[in-house]
Amino acid sequence: MRVFLFSSEENETRKTKKYMKKILVAEDEPILNKALSEFLTEAGFEIISAFDGGEAAELAKAEKPDLILLDIILPKKDGYEVLDELRSDEKTTKIPIILLTNLESAENIQKAFDKGATTYLVKSNYKLEDIAKKIKEILEREK
């Protein structure tokens, strides 16, 4: 009985998943990654998590998410390298990318926009709720 219930639930989500927007969260700090993923799942998004830059770039190409949240300081490849890689690849060049980081110097922000970031958010200045709002705004705009 239990198994049945579980699998039907699974089916439900699979059905609705077709209409859910897919978001890639690239964040190396496990607690932050978990908090973001859980909150955004609650908010009705499908979440894929990456914990380093290499994984983020691969997942972005394989899964083609609707939007990417990208940290700058990441192991293996940093956020800028990932950004370069995704922008130069035809399949991923149009995916909106939000840089979500705690770096906030003018050079960092300029560099991000030069490399084609959609927007730049400073982690500690935003509540999860505000981040979800920004994501929805950008997805609306991209429609």
């Binding site: 700090e29 607690i31 932050l32 908090a35 973001l36 859980e38 909150f39 609650e42 705690n102 770096l103 906030e104 110097s105 003018a106 922000i109 926009f113 927007t119 730049y120 958010l121 400073v122 982690k123 500690s124 200045n125 509540k127 999860l128 709720e129 920004k134």
Partner: protein
């Protein structure tokens, strides 16, 4: 040596973290002595101008002494500049490191609250989680203030320039503090002329300045006090002013109000909260936006703080980095 104690050179050396012979006071004495030596030398040379040996000896002596003293002055200045830069860098790095765990605490608390929104949770528990959330928000602002100060010191504070609705900023800031005004029974009046134009500045930084002045007024005004806010247009500027009947600032400290870490004596006695960074940051922001900030205060009667900000002149709105 006798003068080391008499002239407070030891204290100076300790305060600056250098050896006593590197202190400005000591170097000044050396410069004085040097002047005397040079003058004596000139006197000797003029008396014995027919003795080239003496001339060479005295001249080389003077050159050597000048080189030694000059070198110490240069290395002292270099050392101070280096220390200052290291201090700013340390503050930047430490603040950045603090931000990640702070974001984590804040987000986790928010996550907890949102999870329990649907389920039942005791009001005490909810209050605790909300407190964690508010306090970590407060700490984030403190870290941001420290970072701003470090940036100002390094000349790297980023200020955006775009048309801004200052009336909305004041109204929103007032809404934020509504709860505390009610608890403290403080009367707040906001007068603004009908047509306040858009100003040219940085919306977030301007909000920071307004909130800072507002919070100061509330913090230093007793319960049942009164605060008056005003916005008016004068020539090409919009002037914001806030008047309170709080503790005021002692006259002898007026010239230090906008200094970094300044806190007035009468405030330190009664209040524990406050870093003395707010007005320093406010002054830097307003001045970078080509405005001015000033105040008038009488101890025991209250203060008026005002700033001016240029009216927006550009009709075409440039797309700015408005999202971070």
């Amino acid at each position: 040596m006798w003068f080391v104690n008499d002239l407070n050179l030891k204290k100076q050396a300790r305060d600056l973290g250098v050896k006593f012979w590197q202190t400005p006071g000591f170097l000044f004495i050396i410069l004085g002595l040097l002047t005397i030596i040079i003058m004596t030398a000139t006197y000797y040379i003029s008396r014995n101008y027919d003795s080239p040996e003496m001339l060479i000896a005295v001249e080389s002596l003077v050159v050597i002494v000048i080189l030694i003293v000059g070198n110490s002055v240069i290395s002292l200045v270099e050392q101070i500049i280096k220390l200052n830069r290291m201090k700013s860098e340390f503050v930047s790095v430490a603040s950045h490191q603090l931000r990640t765990p702070l974001s984590a605490i804040r987000w986790e608390a928010e996550l907890l609250l949102s999870k329990f929104r649907k389920e039942k949770i005791g009001s005490k528990q909810r209050q605790s989680i909300e407190n964690i959330s508010t306090l970590s928000g407060k700490m984030t602002r403190l870290v941001n203030d420290l970072l701003d100060v470090a940036r100002i010191d390094q000349g790297r504070l980023i200020i955006k320039k775009m048309p801004v609705n200052i009336v909305a900023i004041v109204e929103e800031s007032l809404a934020e503090i509504n709860a505390i005004i009610r608890i403290r029974h403080i009367e707040v009046v906001f007068k603004n002329e009908k047509k306040i134009p858009l100003v040219f500045g940085d919306p977030e930084k301007l909000r920071m300045v307004v909130e800072n002045l507002l919070n100061n007024s509330i913090k230093y005004t007793a319960n049942h006090g009164k605060i008056e806010l005003k916005l008016l247009k004068k020539n090409d500027f919009v002037i914001f002013s806030i008047k309170d009947n709080g503790v005021g600032i002692p006259a002898e400290q007026h010239n230090r109000v906008f200094d970094k870490f300044f806190r007035s004596d009468n405030v330190v006695k009664y209040q524990t909260e406050g870093t003395g960074l707010g007005l320093y940051i406010a002054k830097n922001i307003i001045e970078q936006l080509k405005g001015k900030i000033w105040f008038d205060s009488v101890e025991g009667l209250g203060s008026i703080f005002s700033f001016s900000i240029p009216v927006n002149r550009k009709t075409k709105q440039k797309r700015c980095l408005d999202n971070f």
